[in-house]
């Protein structure tokens, strides 16, 4: 346990031993541990992605054998979803910012927080061991009966890894819900909370309530594969479609677990760089809850052609259309926030605008797939692949990078080189569109997904997509370099470089281990940028006086 470090030193430098990092209970350090871990997983998933795109440049399977290709796309799916996207914003930015934003010293259960990180590490080691030892080729969906009876690859170690990592996600969600409810600073009512907290709360609701179902589903597959417990085996009256119901009951809320935190970061950035209170604060807040609740009743649209009854397909289609409304409300409100604002285009704002554009396209193509009539043609084709990459990579990764750049001065106390950062943001936007827009056209042409060898007419678009993928990979390499560079050579960041509103900007950057010397009393509304116009950009010493009533100046 870190002894109560000298409260004046920042959390980064208060103690320097390895054990002080690996046994830390400080939510900020655990956030950093998560940041490093998921960056490694993003790299592994990214390498798998580039191998896939290289293989698909030619219709003939010359770069990878079909067996290796199947293992590669499974690795890409599992790594990106379970080990990067789900923990990314909740565990990195959430861990770091939730206590700071609500004026608490730490999360409700610090020990549980560290335990969650170790669960992720143990889970990941299972899956990485499975990949190195032979790989798993069932796809990230683990559909029965292939995963339980016919696949002879290491399905179970990978599934056990996901089972354990699932508990890390559950316990993180549990920690956030209790913290947000019980540990807000006095005066910080729900409608004075930053919208990031609303989104994290909605995500935690889904993490807590949906993940256990996939845990029990993986257990069932484990029992069927090893214990002869034939629950999904049709020869014994079992029903493979039941597995899909149980799996998608978790996996659709899981895609909302992945996108909701991104929807929490974006209003923060847009409000700050438009110097304006978000338009329709209540609507954005409650639409996060609406997405969380609606997100659990729509999973059937993954199974329109999977042997589901026509009646159920119509019911799920209607519900899926309703879940599109809150997302639409959010996008409209963000755009309206920029009305009559003082808009500046630092890097986080570029990522936020990129998010709005790409997430809008991703969301709208979701309407195509939500209709059973069209989904019959488009299911399991590259249209679906393009749709969820637009939402996950165009939406979530852009929001994650936007959030990292927005709070980087607060996390590390250093400023990153803004020129390079804006260039890489634009490069990522262009490379992304080049990679995934052709896949929409490929999808409607009828190219099935997870194909190692495809037909001649599809090659032109595939080559375009592979070319875009290399630009995208280059785009992702830039932030890695200049952010690491900024750790040493970046300008020292002031407490509030962007003049942003929120309790996390009232503490020095990087904050001290105990966050606040005394818990602040909040008297002003959230985001009241109007009252304090921000004159010069980035003048470290000309930081506006904090209008949050603090018993005494914090540093």
């Amino acid at each position: 346990m870190t002894a109560h470090a000298d409260s004046k030193l920042s959390y980064l430098t208060s103690t320097r031993t390895i054990s002080s990092w690996l046994l830390t209970l400080d939510h900020k350090r655990i956030g950093i541990l998560y940041l490093l871990t998921i960056t490694v997983f993003f790299a592994i998933g990214g390498i798998a992605a580039s191998m896939i795109r290289l293989e698909l440049a030619t219709p003939v399977g010359d770069f990878l054998q079909s067996e290796t290709y199947n293992k590669t796309f499974t690795l890409h799916g599992v790594m990106m979803i379970f080990f990067f996207l789900i923990p990314s914003i909740p565990a990195v930015l959430g861990n770091f910012l939730v206590p700071l934003m609500i004026g608490a010293r730490d999360l409700a259960f610090p020990r549980l927080n560290l335990f969650s990180w170790y669960l992720l590490i143990v889970g990941a080691s299972f899956t990485v061991w499975a990949v190195l030892w032979g790989g798993v080729d069932t796809g990230w969906t683990f559909y029965v009966p292939y995963s339980s009876v016919y696949s002879n690859t290491l399905v179970m170690p990978a599934a056990m890894g996901i089972f354990i990592t699932g508990f890390s996600s559950i316990l993180t969600g549990l920690n956030f819900i209790v913290t947000i409810h019980r540990m807000r600073a006095p005066g910080l009512t729900w409608f004075r909370l930053p919208l990031f907290i609303w989104a994290i709360y909605a995500t935690s609701l889904l993490q807590v309530l949906a993940t256990p179902v996939v845990a029990v589903t993986i257990l069932l597959v484990f029992m069927e594969r090893f214990m002869g417990f034939a629950i999904f085996d049709p020869k014994n009256g079992g029903d493979p479609v039941l597995f899909q119901h149980l799996f998608w009951f978790y996996s659709h809320p899981a895609v909302y677990i992945m996108i909701l935190p991104g929807m929490g970061v974006i209003p923060e950035i847009i409000a700050c760089f438009s110097r304006k209170r978000p338009f329709g604060y209540e609507f954005i807040g409650f639409s996060s809850f609406a997405i969380a609740i609606y997100g659990t009743v729509v999973w059937g649209h993954h199974m329109f052609v999977a042997g589901q009854s026509a009646y159920a397909a119509t019911v799920f289609s209607l519900l899926s259309y309703l879940v599109a409304l809150p997302s639409a409300v959010k996008v409209f409100n963000w755009t309206a926030t920029m009305h009559k604002g003082q808009i500046s285009f630092e890097t986080p704002m570029l990522y936020a605008l990129g998010f709005i554009g790409l997430f809008t396209i991703g969301g709208l193509t979701g309407l195509f797939l939500g209709s059973p009539g069209l989904d019959v043609h488009m299911h399991d084709t590259y249209f679906v692949v393009a749709h969820f990459h637009y939402v996950m990579v165009g939406g979530m990764v852009m929001a994650y990078l936007g959030g990292i750049h927005f709070w980087w001065p607060k996390i590390t106390g250093r400023m990153y080189p803004d020129g390079w950062a804006r260039l890489s943001a634009i490069l990522i936007f262009v490379g992304f569109n080049f990679t995934f827009f052709p896949q929409f056209i490929l999808g409607y042409l009828g190219m099935p997904r997870r194909y190692h060898v495809y037909e001649e007419p599809f090659q032109v678009l595939n080559v375009m997509s592979s070319a875009g993928a290399s630009v995208l990979a280059l785009g992702y390499a830039f932030p890695l370099t200049y952010l690491l560079w900024s750790l040493k050579y970046g300008a020292v960041a002031p407490a509030n470089p962007w003049g942003a509103k929120g309790l996390e900007w009232t503490v020095p950057s990087p904050p001290t281990t105990m966050n606040f010397d005394t818990i602040p009393i909040v008297t002003e509304e959230a985001y009241n940028y109007e009252e304090s116009p921000f004159e010069g950009p980035l003048a470290p010493e000309k930081v506006p006086s904090h209008t949050v009533a603090l018993p005494h100046a914090s540093h």
Partner: protein, 228 residues
């Protein structure tokens, strides 16, 4: 169970106030909400099995009824009585802890342990009886069912029966481990009065495991009627 503060040292439970909380009231409310969230995840964890059960029962109603009649109803009912009594002693233990009655707390905790172990022992006998009758379709053991026509449905019933009761028994074992740990702490004089919160949280967990059995009992033992 790992989320309340008692994990770090076996010798003594946590001090009254953890550093990140402002006052003891805040810490207790946080602990209670945290435990109920954990129980919500357990509800859905068992819920997936209940969903599979309901689905397969609606598909093979008659086979499930025949298979359910093979289970020993009196023993099952006796077992439910034991578990309900263990809930009583647990509730009394929580009551004693909050009123700082150390002797009564230790007695009640030991009572709960006795009842819990009795439940597992009876369960063991039930399972071994089923094993004798070759009704365990797991681990490749030969599954014998005299009527070939209802064999698949019966096999599915016993699959679910052993998985649900096995998972429930696993949760009982985890509960018993913490009960032993708490009895040791209570014996050393901790967990009394204001520090009694962990006993309350363990009580929530134990009552939840009891509720799972309250639903498992009719679902598994009382499919259809045995009067006919």
């Amino acid at each position: 169970m790992s989320e309340h503060e008692s994990l770090h040292g076996v010798t003594h439970p946590p001090g009254p106030l953890a550093h990140q909380f402002e006052d003891i009231e805040q810490q207790h409310e946080a602990g209670e909400l945290g435990m109920w969230l954990f129980l919500a995840t357990e509800v859905l964890f068992f819920g997936g099995l209940f969903c599979a059960y309901t689905l397969y029962r609606s598909q093979a109603e008659e086979a499930f009824e025949l298979a359910s009649h093979h289970l020993n109803l009196p023993l099952g009912t006796f077992n439910t009585a034991i578990l309900l009594s263990s809930s009583l002693t647990m509730a009394l233990a929580v009551n004693a802890a909050l009123r700082s009655q150390q002797k009564k707390l230790v007695q009640m905790l030991i009572g709960t342990i006795v009842f819990g172990t009795a439940f597992l022992v009876v369960k063991y006998f039930e399972w071994s009886a089923d094993y004798e009758e070759h009704l365990v379709p797991l681990m490749g053991w030969h599954f014998e069912w005299e009527d070939p026509t209802t064999a698949p449905g019966a096999r599915m019933f016993f699959n679910l029966y052993f998985f649900m009761t096995g998972l429930h028994a696993l949760h009982m074992v985890i509960g018993l481990f913490f009960l032993l740990l708490y009895t040791w702490w209570a014996h050393k004089g901790h967990l009394l009065g204001i520090n009694g919160q962990p006993v309350h949280l363990l009580g929530l967990y134990w009552h939840f495991v009891d509720i799972v059995w309250v639903f498992l009992y009719p679902f598994l033992y009382l499919v259809g009627t045995r009067a006919g």
